[in-house]
């Protein structure tokens, strides 16, 4: 008999790459703040207000949007954001 106690792993067996979070900036002064709209209904209302508040305080804000909330953000968009802003505010969902 083969050993019935040896099982085959049903998982993806992926090594999850451990990534260190970037250090939280001590201050937002001089930084560019990204705001990412994931295209969830009425998310823009909240994010517009945030944009307004941040801009009034003199921060530089850049806006981004996903084409649809149902899919992950396109790679090109993610790469663009990573090169254009220092911090990002992203609504996750409901």
């Amino acid at each position: 008999m083969t050993d019935p106690r040896v099982l085959l792993d049903p998982t993806g067996e992926m090594e999850v790459a451990g990534r260190q979070r970037l250090a939280r900036p001590a201050s937002l002064d001089g930084l560019t703040i990204g705001i990412m709209d994931i295209a969830k209904s009425r998310g823009d209302v909240f994010l517009d207000r945030l944009d307004e508040q941040l801009s009034q305080r003199g921060y530089k804000v850049r806006r981004y949007a996903k084409p649809t909330n149902t899919r992950v953000a396109p790679l090109a968009l993610r790469q663009r954001i990573s090169t254009e802003v220092d911090v990002l505010i992203e609504g996750l969902s409901d």
């Binding site: 008999m1 083969t2 050993d3 019935p4 106690r5 040896v6 099982l7 085959l8 792993d9 049903p10 998982t11 993806g12 067996e13 992926m14 649809t68 909330n69 149902t70 899919r71 992950v72 969902s93 409901d94």
Partner: protein, 479 residues
């Protein structure tokens, strides 16, 4: 096992009346020539009075010699088999042995018995032990005193119900259900976008309780949900109830014994129950999609354990779903739909198609919310007694669908936000428009259910149905 030496090779077992009958013949051969190798499958003391019987209770020689019947007599020359006789046939034995006068007094022939190496379950066991079968998946050893099923829970492999431990033999047996290479990559499974091989699908199919003949259906279902148009990542991640619903068409429904009749959407049929479950286990285990992780469903639905059924194709007036979606008639296919449910359609009084179409429309109007339009798709599962009303009136599927959709057109002003004292509804900007409940192609009709009962069902779809989210995907089932 070393290759048998040149000469005669004889494989037998005591638990075979023919082998016992010809025991004197085996002795005759053993005494007359030094080049007879006898393998005994169940008792190294059999045949008696024959020296050097090789103990083959582990069946390695029987497997490697591809023995199906005992006794089997084989002639080996130059390391290669040149002749074989199954069972006892005096003339053939004498010819192969190059001897005469074998088994004087015995009947001229007797059929043999089945070899122990081909007993049910043994073939795959031997293939794994001796046949060079390899697996790409990591091996996980369960501790000596640990319960295997509990261990699978501990590893996080279960959907909450007990699973069948995926042993090497079970997975090998499952892989016999397809001609596809176990290493073939079926696709990338979200959310981790993990490459998923046929072998990984087979492992999860074992755990779900599938039979090998279901594997092609599971593979097609996996391929269907991994089609970008289905948007499996979003279907998994959404806070809505949805999960993949699998609908099977074509001759494979018969071959694997699926249910499209009584209780078609319920419990009790192994194929229906385990195919849908295997698909969900692939998402969970290969893709890493787990509730509370990327699966953010507020409530989910019981169909996220399994939701799979076959369509009733016994009546040919309404084309099956697969044919409607471009698959050749007579070809097996799966269609996946991001949905949940069911919501009942109870109408015991309508006897005209016009009345019944209005009933379906009225019930479909409640999908998501009576005041929400153009969001979710829906599948109607029409029971035979409702279907009869349309069929007897000569209504095609297209006509029936059109009649239902016509009833679902409504002036937007009646369903705007705030109308009827309900905040929910369509945006005020739509005032003045006429709305349809479903996007073009968003309403589908399939048939299933027991012969009695004027009870159909609606399976509602994701609020993000359509191009921006998920559309139903159909895939042919390959072998």
């Amino acid at each position: 096992m070393l290759a048998p030496p040149d000469g005669l090779v004889l494989v037998a077992k005591r638990d075979c009346p023919t082998c016992v009958l010809i025991e004197p013949v085996m002795r005759q051969l053993a005494f007359s020539t030094s080049t007879v190798t006898v393998f005994s499958q169940d008792d190294p003391g059999f045949p008696s009075a024959v020296g050097g019987v090789v103990d083959d209770r582990h069946l390695e020689a029987s497997y490697r010699l591809n023995i199906e019947i005992v006794p089997t007599l084989i002639r080996v020359q130059g390391g290669r088999e040149v002749g074989r006789v199954l069972g006892w046939h005096r003339g053939e034995w004498e010819a192969l042995a190059g001897m005469s006068g074998l088994g004087a007094g015995l009947p001229d022939s007797r059929p043999g018995c089945g070899s122990l190496s081909v007993e049910p379950g043994t073939v795959e066991e031997l293939a794994v032990r001796f046949g060079g079968v390899t697996f790409a998946a990591r091996r996980v050893e369960v501790a000596d005193r640990q319960d295997e099923i509990e261990a699978c829970y501990d590893y996080g492999w279960s959907d909450g119900l007990p699973i069948v431990p995926p042993t090497l033999v079970r997975v090998h047996r499952m892989l016999q259900g397809t001609i596809r290479d176990a290493r073939e990559i079926v696709g990338l499974v979200p959310p981790n976008l993990a490459p998923c091989s046929v072998e990984k699908v087979a492992i999860n199919a074992v755990m779900a309780g599938c039979k090998p003949e279901y594997l092609p259906v599971v593979l097609a279902a996996v391929e269907a949900v991994l089609d970008d148009a289905f948007c499996m990542h979003g279907v998994l991640a959404t806070t809505m109830y949805v999960g993949p619903i699998v609908i099977v068409n074509g001759p494979i429904r018969h071959r694997i014994g699926m249910n499209w009749g009584v209780n078609a959407l319920g419990q009790g049929n192994r194929a229906n129950a385990t195919i849908g479950r295997a698909l969900q286990l692939v998402i969970r285990n290969v893709g890493g999609g787990k509730p509370g992780g990327v699966d953010r469903a507020t409530l989910g639905n019981p169909g996220k354990h399994t939701f799979c059924f076959a369509e009733d194709e016994d009546d040919t007036i309404w084309e099956p779903l697969s044919v409607e979606r471009g698959v050749l008639s007579g070809t097996s296919a799966v269609t996946v739909f991001a949905g949940y449910g069911l919501q009942g359609v109870v109408d015991q009084l309508s006897r005209t198609p016009e009345s019944l179409a209005k009933t379906f429309a009225a019930c479909l109007g409640a999908v998501q919310h009576p005041k929400k339009f153009l969001g979710a798709d829906a599948f109607v599962v029409m029971a035979p007694e409702h279907y009869r009303t349309f069929r007897e009136a000569g209504w095609s599927k297209a006509r029936t669908k059109a009649a239902i959709e016509a009833e679902l057109r409504i002036p937007a002003r009646d369903v705007l936000e705030g109308v009827d004292g309900i905040a929910e509804g369509m945006p005020a900007a739509m005032a003045g428009k006429v709305l349809t409940k479903f996007r073009p192609g968003g309403l589908n009709l399939v048939r299933a259910g027991g012969k009695a009962g004027l009870f159909s069902a609606i399976l509602a779809g994701w609020a993000a149905s359509g191009e921006r989210g998920s559309v139903p995907v159909t895939k042919e089932i390959k072998s």
